[in-house]
């Protein structure tokens, strides 16, 4: 009974606020409505656990972020906004940061959230488990008072960098009273995570869906707007498309349906294809040249092969226009670090052929050389890209043996065994380039068996030096200049380069409102989503 009266109370308050603030009916239509159930999904499968503390990919990230929050979040226009922290302020020397926390925040089990929780997260969770190399210089975390934490570092830490970590995949804040003294990674609570977020895990029906109930005591009164959130998984993009049409699905993030279906589904106006909300998890398709092979130690050969690939064709035909030819190393949606001032690789087969001739690989007996091309089989588009790139190289009279292994074998061949000459893979990076993007090029990124790192074995002291300066440069304009220098060098060296910048799409019913407002919408709490029904 008390639940209903509380809801009535909230509705009345909302009504009063509304009546006092608004006059026109047009503005009235944009006023969020409370209630309803939203069914969401993403373009992938069920996670191994609802929350995977060490990362675990997009699927557990999607399910855990509705429950567990972070200190900050990054908006679509790349500004940091407070979530659990009201402010994060650097000291003048950038060796320490003061974090002011939000008051009157409680965990789902009713215990209060405090500075001790953040200290625990910084030292026991972020530094050793989730953030990895990002926080190696973190020395100590101290709770000054129940709502103030100071993070101390051994070296200066750029503000954008730290805030990116705190608002990124690694910065989830987990309860100390649940995890202290246990193994965070294997704690069974990860299947029913507890956080401060707008939704509580109600039930996880394995193989089908997870249901979240509204957190009635959420720190932001009135939020979330939804009564219930359901995340359901489908195994096949075509069946997601059918589910949308059958009214069984309201929103799907990260390419839920086949590309050619998008136009058909959105034609009636009942569904929208939204491309915003992916800036902080920007996907690219890469081509990688194994530096352990004698041929690819020559930069001219790598550059020539880049020029043999018609990336316009890949964007238009393979991705149905949902990708753009990459400019440099940095994704074009990255409005802070992106630059056009890098070496271009226009599609030019003749020039590529003459470059290979000059590099000492003329056509002999019908073939310049033989190479093995491994296209990672986790996306359907990679199958087609593999077939296209094979043809593009064959046009240069190179003999190509193509393999498109399944996910596990692809990871093993590319990132563990280095068993490829040229690889086609994908990766995703945030707006901040260190360490995710830079590790594809730096020497410390060469870690045998670590997926999505420097698998080419490329090592260049000059490039390492630029990245090292980026990690400690606290002056924002200087840091951006360094990033562009890194981009220029990496692009002209071309050990691994993006072929196309993917533009993931969220498919959403047109009566779902206030979605895609952050730089990584899929990993947002979805408290502000509401249904205009």
């Amino acid at each position: 009974m008390s639940r209903f009266s509380r809801r009535d109370f909230l509705l009345t308050t909302a009504g009063v606020v509304l009546a006092s603030r608004l006059g026109s009916s047009a503005a009235l239509a944009a006023t969020p409505k409370r209630g309803g159930t939203l069914i969401g999904t993403w373009g992938g499968f069920e996670p191994q656990s609802l929350f995977v503390p060490a990362g675990g990919g997009s699927s557990p990230y999607f399910t855990s972020t509705k429950v567990v929050e972070r200190l900050l979040r990054l908006t679509v226009d790349l500004k940091f906004e407070p979530v659990l922290a009201l402010s994060v302020t650097p000291a003048p020397d950038f060796r320490s940061y003061t974090i002011k926390l939000r008051d009157k925040v409680t965990w789902h089990d009713g215990k209060p959230f405090s500075a001790d929780d953040v200290v625990f997260n910084a030292m026991e969770y972020w530094k050793p488990i989730s953030a990895g190399v990002s926080l190696v210089t973190l020395e100590a975390a101290e709770a000054v008072d129940p709502l103030t934490v100071v993070l101390k570092f051994k070296a200066p830490v750029p503000e954008f960098f730290l805030k990116s970590v705190l608002s990124g995949k690694a910065g989830l804040v987990i309860p100390k009273h649940i995890y202290a003294g246990s193994n965070i990674i294997t704690n069974p609570i990860n299947n029913t995570p507890i956080g401060t977020g707008p939704f509580k895990v109600k039930e996880w029906v394995r193989g089908s869906h997870v249901e979240y109930a509204r957190n009635e005591s959420y720190w932001n009164p009135g939020l979330p707007y939804l009564d219930k959130l359901v995340i359901r998984w489908w195994r096949d993009p075509a069946s997601r498309s059918a589910a949308f049409e059958a009214g069984q699905l309201d929103i799907g993030t990260f390419n839920p349906i086949p590309y050619p279906e998008i136009a058909r589904l959105t034609a009636g106006g009942k569904f929208i294809a939204e491309t915003k909300g992916y800036a902080n998890s920007a996907w690219i398709a890469t081509v990688e040249f194994n530096q352990r092979r004698e041929i690819f130690k020559k930069r001219e050969v790598r550059q020539a092969l880049m020029m043999a690939i018609d990336r316009e064709f890949i964007s238009e035909t393979i991705f149905f226009g949902r990708a753009k030819p990459s400019v440099g190393v940095v994704h074009n949606s990255n409005s802070i670090f992106f630059t056009k001032d890098v070496q271009a690789y226009p599609f030019d087969v003749k020039k590529a052929a003459s470059m290979l001739d000059a590099a000492g690989y003329p056509v002999k007996g019908g073939s310049r050389f033989k190479l093995s091309l491994v296209s990672a089989g986790w996306f359907e588009e990679n199958v087609k890209m593999g077939q296209y790139v094979k043809q593009a190289f064959e046009d240069l009279d190179i003999t190509v043996d193509l393999a498109v292994p399944d996910r596990a074998t692809s990871l093993k061949r590319i990132y563990t065994d280095y068993d490829y000459d040229v690889a086609i893979s994908n990766n995703t990076g945030g707006v901040e380039l260190v360490p995710t993007t830079t590790q594809y090029y730096t020497t410390d990124g060469i870690v045998k068996g670590a997926a999505f790192r420097n698998a080419t074995g490329y090592s260049n002291p000059e490039l390492d030096k630029i990245v090292a300066s980026m990690t400690v440069e606290t002056d924002e304009p200087k840091r951006i200049a360094l990033a562009k220098e890194f981009d220029r060098l990496a692009t002209s060296e071309a050990p691994i380069l993006p072929m196309v910048d993917l533009e993931p799409v969220t498919i959403v019913r047109s009566d779902v409102r206030d979605h895609s407002k952050t730089a990584d919408f899929m990993g947002e709490s979805w408290a502000e989503l509401w249904l205009d029904r």
């Binding site: 086949p258 050619p260 064709f313 296209s375 094979k390 043809q391 064959e394 043996d401 498109v404």
Partner: protein, 281 residues
């Protein structure tokens, strides 16, 4: 010998459906052989605009797929792949099956027990999963797909061969051979096998049809050899376009259906021709 062949042909021809099947098989073989002349370029080359429908462009009579590759060329070269894998896998299965079945039945006793338990072990593993496992371990090469299909399809042949051998091994002509001092191998393969062969041949022809389906399934799931054209792969690639350009799946699907149907009809015809008594019964 000639009269025997004519007799065989007449009995085969009495089954009209088998004749149709035979004609279709000849057609598929013809297309497979003529592929390099009909389509002199690499069938996996991107040659035109993507998603041209069949019967629209005279250059691409069966249209183009989602990348702009000529479907007609891929079907023709796919016939080669499919038949090659089908025949080779069937041969592999037949050789393994006959060897195991014949040995088990001829020697009997613990050899029989051992080999039959071994056969059952293979029979208990779901076929498709077994094929996928073998291909995943060995790699995506056309040879490995052939071996994998051969390995999972030999068991019925082994059991049939065993049953035939069991009924023949104690006949008088075999005893006569023993009395003459013939060696085991010579009796098995020189004397018993020719008499046991007709039903085995029928089964082997059906295994070809099964192998075509297995190869298509493996390629459909993206585990086939990406360097060769294959009907199953074409269907797999076209799957995402099934709502808008369904012909990309339908054309190779039709090819698979007709080929498998034809092979089954031929199998029926062979059955009639090789076991005439069975038919009249």
């Amino acid at each position: 010998m000639l009269s025997l062949t004519i007799d065989f042909a007449r009995r085969f021809a009495r089954n009209r459906a088998a004749l149709v099947g035979f004609a279709l098989v000849i057609l598929v073989i013809g297309v497979a052989l003529a592929a390099p002349w009909l389509f002199p370029r690499n069938p996996l080359r991107i040659v035109g605009k993507p998603e041209i429908w069949p019967f629209v462009s005279s250059r691409y009579p069966l249209g183009t797929d989602s990348l702009g590759r000529d479907i007609a060329a891929m079907i023709a070269y796919g016939a080669r792949t499919t038949l090659l894998i089908g025949v080779c896998a069937s041969l592999t299965a037949t050789i393994i099956g006959i060897s195991v079945g014949a040995t088990a039945a001829y020697f009997g006793g613990w050899v029989d027990e051992l080999l039959m338990r071994f056969t059952e072990l293979f029979q208990t593993i779901p076929n498709l999963i077994f094929v996928l496992t073998i291909v995943a371990i060995l790699g995506q090469k056309i040879e490995y797909v052939t071996i994998a299909v051969g390995i999972v399809t030999w068991t019925p042949i082994a059991r049939l061969t065993r049953a035939e051998f069991m009924s023949l091994r104690d006949r008088e002509f075999v005893q006569a051979c023993r009395a003459m001092g013939m060696g085991n191998l010579r009796i098995m393969f020189g004397e018993i096998l020719p008499n046991a062969l007709p039903p085995v041949i029928v089964l082997s022809s059906l295994v070809i049809a099964g192998a075509v389906l297995f190869e298509s399934a493996v390629s459909f799931l993206g585990l086939g050899d990406p360097n060769v054209s294959s009907w199953g792969r074409l269907i797999g690639d076209g799957r995402t376009l099934i709502r808008s350009s369904w012909y990309i799946c339908a054309v190779p699907g039709l090819a698979i259906m007709l080929t498998v149907l034809a092979l089954n009809l031929v199998g029926d015809g062979l059955n009639d021709a090789l076991n005439p008594k069975l038919r009249d019964r």
